[in-house]
């Protein structure tokens, strides 16, 4: 009797395994997993477009799962998942992710899959590396700009001298917590100022850190924190975001991803302008400009790949690009949407475009990765006065060089 019991158990569990097999949906052609690193205010827009796609004729069975990560988390998680041979089908990210991912073979080139000629050339150029394109542009920009609260600021400053004058006069008088809400620990926020002193972190693929322009920019940064004290002493992204939203800071430097959230929160009191010109050099700060992109998992093929192509084409069609403009206040990537009245007549978008004009394309070279990592580490040390700027910059250059050598590209 016991033998029959064991035999029955064996057959029953085996049969259950076999019967449940079809419910596995991970690799099914009509199930798409998307990872993104967008601001929380962008999620409803993304979901609305995905929903619209699912309601297209023939897409009734399509299931799209969106998973949110922070910027660095998305990069690391995707990298880890790719090593394990898994990961999402699509990621939505800035162009610089493509440099590392393409070299490591985590993503698929989009040449031949999607007609890239319909997108702005600047946007597609930003994901061109080693003779191939590695992403499909969703929006143009992803750049930093100055945002201000019109209740506290009548006219945005055109130069750093004007900014300092405002801060000196007004912050204490109004009892504000800080003048310029700013994520001083993130190198992406430092790069525009480096440009304002005439520098740039990469010359083609060569890291250019230990330069006179870098020294000037770092000293300027130190002056903002310790000399003029117009930026918070210790503030990350969430902190600066709260300061601005709560009206405790008249200015913030933030990216185009945050425009819609602030516009909702502050309404007509919200303004966008160029980051003020550096008075000592007469140069405009140069934020990195790229955009948001779809990048495709390298293992995609067959029917799933066809479905992904349809989704990308739908997501970036003219109607959705204009919807994106209206809801997110982002510059479109599709050439035919750029001239739409919704784009041309929107004051926030005009200001955003004005900032793009003085920005510089974000390099896609893999060498940018060690630049970010090293800059984050040494700028942190310099800005907490654990290391002098001279020593910090020299070590930053040497550390980047060493990491680039190690890549052995």
């Amino acid at each position: 009797m016991r033998k029959f019991g064991v035999l029955f158990l064996l057959i029953a569990t085996g049969a259950l395994c076999a019967c449940l097999k079809p419910v596995k949906t991970g690799d099914e052609a009509d199930s798409i997993v998307v990872w993104e690193q967008e601001d929380a205010s962008v999620a409803p827009y993304i979901d609305s477009v995905f929903d619209a796609f699912k309601h297209l004729p023939g897409n009734e069975k399509v299931n799209i799962t969106r998973v949110h990560y922070n910027n660095e988390d998305l990069r690391q998680q995707y990298q880890t998942a790719s090593i394990a041979g898994t990961g999402p089908d699509l990621i939505m990210c800035p162009s610089d992710f493509g440099g590392v991912f393409s070299v490591a073979g985590y993503i698929k080139s989009v040449d031949g899959l999607v007609d890239l000629s319909i997108y702005n050339k600047a946007a597609t150029d930003a994901v061109y590396l080693d003779g191939k394109h590695w992403g499909v542009p969703i929006s143009n920009g992803n750049h930093l700009m100055l945002m201000y609260n019109k209740k506290l600021v009548a006219q945005p400053p055109q130069s750093t001298d004007e900014l300092f004058a405002y801060c000196d006069k007004t912050v204490a008088r109004l009892g504000l917590k800080t003048c310029l809400a700013f994520d001083g620990g993130e190198p992406f926020w430092f790069v525009p100022w480096l440009g304002g002193f005439g520098g740039w972190p990469l010359d083609n693929r060569t890291p250019t850190i230990d330069t006179p322009q870098m020294h000037d920019a770092v000293n300027f940064y130190l002056d903002l924190k310790f000399g003029r004290k117009i930026i918070p002493q210790e503030c990350d992204y969430n902190c600066m975001d709260s300061l601005f939203k709560e009206g405790q800071a008249p200015f913030i430097i933030n990216g185009d991803w945050s425009i819609s959230g602030y516009a909702d929160k502050l309404g007509k009191d919200y303004g966008v302008a160029r980051i003020p010109k550096v008075s000592s050099t007469g140069l405009w700060p140069t934020p990195m400009v790229s955009g948001k992109y779809f990048m495709l998992n390298a293992r995609l093929s067959g029917a799933k790949l066809d479905l992904i192509k349809k989704l990308i084409t739908f997501y970036t069609n003219r109607d959705n690009q204009i919807k994106q403009v209206k809801m997110l206040k982002r510059l479109p990537a599709l050439t035919s949407a750029t001239d739409a009245p919704e784009v041309q007549n929107d004051p926030l978008l005009k200001a955003s475009m004005d900032q793009v004009l003085v920005g510089r394309p974000m390099p896609m070279a893999t060498e940018l990765r060690p630049v970010w990592d090293s800059m984050r580490s040494y700028m942190g040390k310099i800005m907490t006065k654990q290391m002098g700027p001279e020593e910090g910059i020299k070590k930053m250059q040497s550390d980047v060089d060493s990491k680039v050598r190690e890549m052995d590209r």
Binding site: L16, T80, Q233
Partner: protein, 403 residues
């Protein structure tokens, strides 16, 4: 289909799959341990084992397995059985069958979850997996062999930017010592207090004290990280108010501190001490409650003071409880990436709070130095192994206090 139903079905399928695998494995062992003298033993196992392996593979991967894979499964299982069947028949001969059958699933599980990754870690540490060789690995399954180069690099190149391996090791040992010291002292003090006759409130106190340990560590650490914020954190708010109330404190140099920027390691230590004390307290309290009260009664009759009773009864009898707990605490604290990672941020940070394992993680997943990190992990494993064995031998912690 409803995603919840799909997820539940996947979980049930996984459980069934594992259960089925265990049943098949137990059946295999049962036949080899108990039926080795039957006439049908050899033909049955030489045919049955390859067929079972194939059925198992089809259940796992689906019926569309390529012909080559099917052939390979049958061939490998047959060859394996050619050696295994005589081994069980002529050497094992059914000895200790029940014991082996009981531990076999656990042994296989451990082999899959621990031994395989460990072997792979060793493999990686002698090869060169990095950003620029990942593609080669994915396409060819091979990596350049580099011998001991990665191990040499562990001692000559910093894992992140500046702090060397030896500096990180020193910092890690210090971090481990300070944390475990305060965990044990704090846990002991609280356990002694809770072990007193404090009436019905003991359960409530114990519950309140265990909360930091019981709640998910991510939540606890992130909440505490917020409390250490220089402008909005509770700690600095308290300091500012205290200084406002008692201005002489400002003259003593007391004022708000940029905890996260300037004292990252201290902040991590304070948070980790807070998190770790409840665990030690629970372990030590359990030990204290198991000491027979007759020992204390006898000592009291002999006129022993409270300190003498603590020193001569409590401490010696607590050694078998505390020594393994300290060993565990040491290994956990040495390897505690959560607190450092969550407090200092995941993206490199400024290295001032990094210990060996957090540097290892960042070297691998921020800087893509996979083989270097594997070699570093092997070195850390060797260090922990030596420290743990040495500590247990030194304290004789695995011996019973009652002889």
């Amino acid at each position: 289909m409803n995603p919840l139903v799909v997820s539940l079905a996947e979980v049930v399928q996984m459980v069934c799959f594992v259960g089925w695998g265990v049943l098949l494995f137990e059946l295999y062992l049962y036949i080899h341990f108990n039926k080795f003298d039957e006439k049908w033993y050899f033909p049955a196992v030489l045919i049955g084992v390859p067929v079972s392996a194939l059925v198992f593979a089809i259940t796992a991967e689906g019926a569309d397995l390529p012909g080559g894979v099917i052939g390979a499964i049958l061939a490998y299982a047959f060859v394996f059985e050619l050696f295994a069947a005589p081994f069980f028949k002529y050497i094992v001969r059914g000895k200790h069958s029940l014991a082996y059958m009981m531990i076999a699933p656990g042994f296989v599980g451990l082999a899959l979850l621990i031994a395989y990754p460990l072997v792979f870690e060793f493999y990686l540490s002698f090869h060169d997996l990095k950003l620029t060789t990942l593609k080669m690995w994915a396409e060819t399954g091979t990596l350049p062999f580099v011998g001991f180069k990665q191990f040499k690099a562990v001692f000559t190149l910093p894992p992140l930017s500046e702090v060397t391996f030896l500096q990180l090791l020193g910092r890690t040992l210090w971090w481990t010592f300070i944390n475990v010291f305060f965990h044990v002292v704090g846990g002991f003090c609280l356990a002694l207090l809770l072990n007193q006759n404090i009436g019905k409130m003991r359960g409530i106190y114990r519950t309140l004290l265990v909360i930091p340990w019981a709640m998910p560590q991510v939540v606890a650490v992130l909440a505490m990280r917020g409390e250490f914020h220089s402008e909005y954190g509770f700690i600095n708010v308290m300091i500012i108010r205290l200084v406002a109330k008692f201005p002489f404190l400002a003259h003593l140099g007391i004022g708000p501190v940029q905890w996260l920027s300037n004292h990252a390691l201290l902040t991590c230590t304070l948070i980790n001490v807070w998190l770790g004390i409840p665990f030690m307290m629970v372990i030590i309290l359990g030990g204290l409650q198991s000491i027979p009260s007759s020992y204390y009664d006898a000592a009291a009759i002999d006129g022993a003071s409270a300190f003498q009773r603590f020193w001569n009864i409590t401490l010696p009898l607590m050694k078998p409880v505390v020594a393994p707990a300290v060993t565990l605490g040491t290994v956990w604290t040495f390897n505690n990436i959560n607190v450092i990672y969550l407090v200092t941020g995941q993206a490199g940070g400024t290295e001032q709070a990094d210990i060996l394992v957090s540097a290892l993680y960042k070297a691998a997943f921020t800087f893509s130095r996979y083989s270097y990190s594997a070699a570093l992990a092997v070195v850390i494993f060797a260090l922990l192994f030596v420290i743990s064995v040495g500590w247990l031998k030194f304290t004789k912690g695995s011996e019973s206090a009652y002889g």
